[in-house]
């Protein structure tokens, strides 16, 4: 998914947020759209009301991001992995494989999109007249 921030007076794209882990097909209301344009000031309201459940299973759709970084100071993160390794000694996977695996938890599509939107609002909060063009381009 690509979210382009557009200045309506010049039609210039001022910033692009690329989210390869996400598709507009993940959201029921957008399934028949090629692109969606939303005003920045109503973006969050629109996004939190999206239905991101699989139409057949009625279960939320998930995405597996390449990797997540844990919000911990670096030294603490190293200590945590070290304790994890000590605990996991009886597991068949190596400590590196385990570390790699736990850094890739599945995240709900709705959680991912909301996080991106909140970041966008933070980066352009003074520009409520701006628009956002959302597509899979």
């Amino acid at each position: 998914m690509k979210l382009e921030i557009i200045n309506p007076s010049t039609q210039e794209v001022v910033e692009i947020y690329s989210v390869p882990d996400l598709s507009i097909l993940d959201f029921q209301q957008w399934r028949n759209e090629n692109e969606i344009i939303i005003h920045l000031d109503s973006l969050l309201d629109k996004v939190v009301n999206l239905d991101s459940k699989d139409p057949e299973t009625k279960m939320p759709t998930f995405s597996n991001p390449e990797e997540v970084d844990f919000y911990l100071p670096d030294p603490l993160k190293k200590q945590v992995f070290s304790v994890f390794k000590d605990i996991q000694t009886d597991m068949e996977v190596s400590s590196e494989e385990f570390e790699d695996k736990i850094s890739r938890p599945a995240l709900k599509s709705s959680t991912i999109l909301t996080a991106v939107v909140q970041e966008i609002l933070q980066n352009h909060h003074q520009r409520t007249d701006y628009k956002v063009r959302i597509s899979d381009g």
Binding site: P65, V68, D69, Y71, P73, V83, F84, T111, Q122
Partner: protein, 358 residues
């Protein structure tokens, strides 16, 4: 009831969490140990199997309505102003916890050479233009763990944290006052509801000492000992603010550095004053809490996903609120995270907690 002393890394690695948890607190300085104030609900929408496979999972944090906190205080104290002030103070402390643990992103205002930049991504881009950065920090910036945030965000820029000695004396004063309150409460046996303001003091000690310990393990921290002589003459309430600004100027002059040195402060007036005196500053403030906050954040500067471990948030809350109780009715499980315990042995700089399991 099982008790165990543990460090944060052990807590994260050894205690998987899933399901819905009610979070409440009690504090021996101002609440009887049977009285709890409900703070929030934490939901980890996963199974026990997933929680064991992925010990750090996404969660949501939903603070209780701020009116509920007020009502609970009203039940415990007949003084209406206490309930109202306590409600506000607790709400502010929760927001600070969210900020320290990454559920909220700080709002920045970069003030340098007649320009002001308020948008996060642009602030990060401007700061990263420097080959290295020096932040002269005040108590508010340290308490909100902004140095850690900047270390985590500006990963390729070496950052030097400078703490004016006056900031350390402020912390020393808070330690003294906290100890006095704790002693007067008979070490938790004789609480006084009017002492709820300890919730404001405790993070000035516990969270700052954790922040300093973390940065020290990672990047340089310098305690700046210079004391400008002429300031002995000044008799104003905001003397510490003035001393911090003068420390910043002294630092730049004595090291011969002009660029990339910022006052990092949570005080708008101090940031403005520094700018008027040609000193660059980075002001930080806390955004409003939402009804529900996610532990997943997108960091557009580094183009990566950030995930806060629920343990980190709980640890932080215990350091502010003294004893945090977690109840999962469905699993019939209760944990208590206790800040005042033998674990710490009276040393506030020791980042250890007691966990009790029922």
């Amino acid at each position: 009831m099982g008790k165990r002393l543990l460090k944060l890394d052990e807590f994260i690695a050894e205690y998987p969490f899933w399901g819905k948890w009610e979070v409440s607190y009690t504090d021996g300085t101002h609440l009887e140990n049977c009285n709890y104030i409900k703070l929030a609900y934490i939901t980890i929408d996963e199974s026990d199997k997933t929680a064991r496979e992925y010990p750090i999972l996404p969660f949501t944090f939903a603070p209780v309505a701020n009116q509920d906190i007020k009502s609970r205080f009203s039940e415990l104290s007949s003084k209406e102003n206490i309930a109202d002030q306590a409600r506000k103070l607790i709400w502010d402390q929760l927001a600070d916890s969210m900020l320290r643990t990454g559920l909220l992103c700080p709002k920045f205002c970069l003030m340098e050479e007649q320009t002001i930049e308020l948008e996060f991504l642009e602030v990060m881009r401007q700061l990263s233009k420097h080959g290295y950065l020096t932040f002269v920090v005040d108590t508010g910036a340290l308490r909100r763990a902004i140095s850690s945030f900047l270390h985590m965000t500006l990963r390729t820029v070496p950052i030097w944290t400078v703490v004016p000695v006056f900031v350390m004396t402020e912390i020393q004063q808070q330690v003294y006052e906290m100890n006095e309150i704790w002693k007067k409460s008979g070490r938790g046996t004789n609480p006084n509801i009017a002492k709820y303001r300890v919730l404001e003091k405790r993070p000035q000690v516990s969270c700052i000492s954790r922040e300093l310990s973390h940065i020290r393990l990672w990047r340089p921290v310098e305690i700046l000992r210079s004391i400008p002589q002429h300031l002995d003459q000044i008799k104003i309430d905001s003397k510490n603010d003035r001393l911090i600004i003068e420390s910043l100027k002294d630092f730049k002059q004595s090291r011969g550095i002009q660029k990339g040195v910022y006052l990092l402060t949570g005080d708008k007036d101090m940031a403005s004053l520094a700018t008027l005196e040609n000193q660059d500053s980075l002001h930080i403030s806390v955004p409003s809490m939402r009804k529900e906050m996610s532990s997943v954040r997108y960091d557009s500067y580094n183009k990566r996903w950030l995930l806060t471990p629920v343990h980190y948030l709980l640890w932080d809350l215990a350091q502010v609120f003294s004893t945090i109780r977690l109840v999962n009715e469905k699993l019939s499980r209760t944990y208590k995270l206790v800040y005042y315990s033998q674990a710490r042995g009276g040393f506030f700089a020791r980042d250890v907690m007691e966990i009790q399991e029922e």
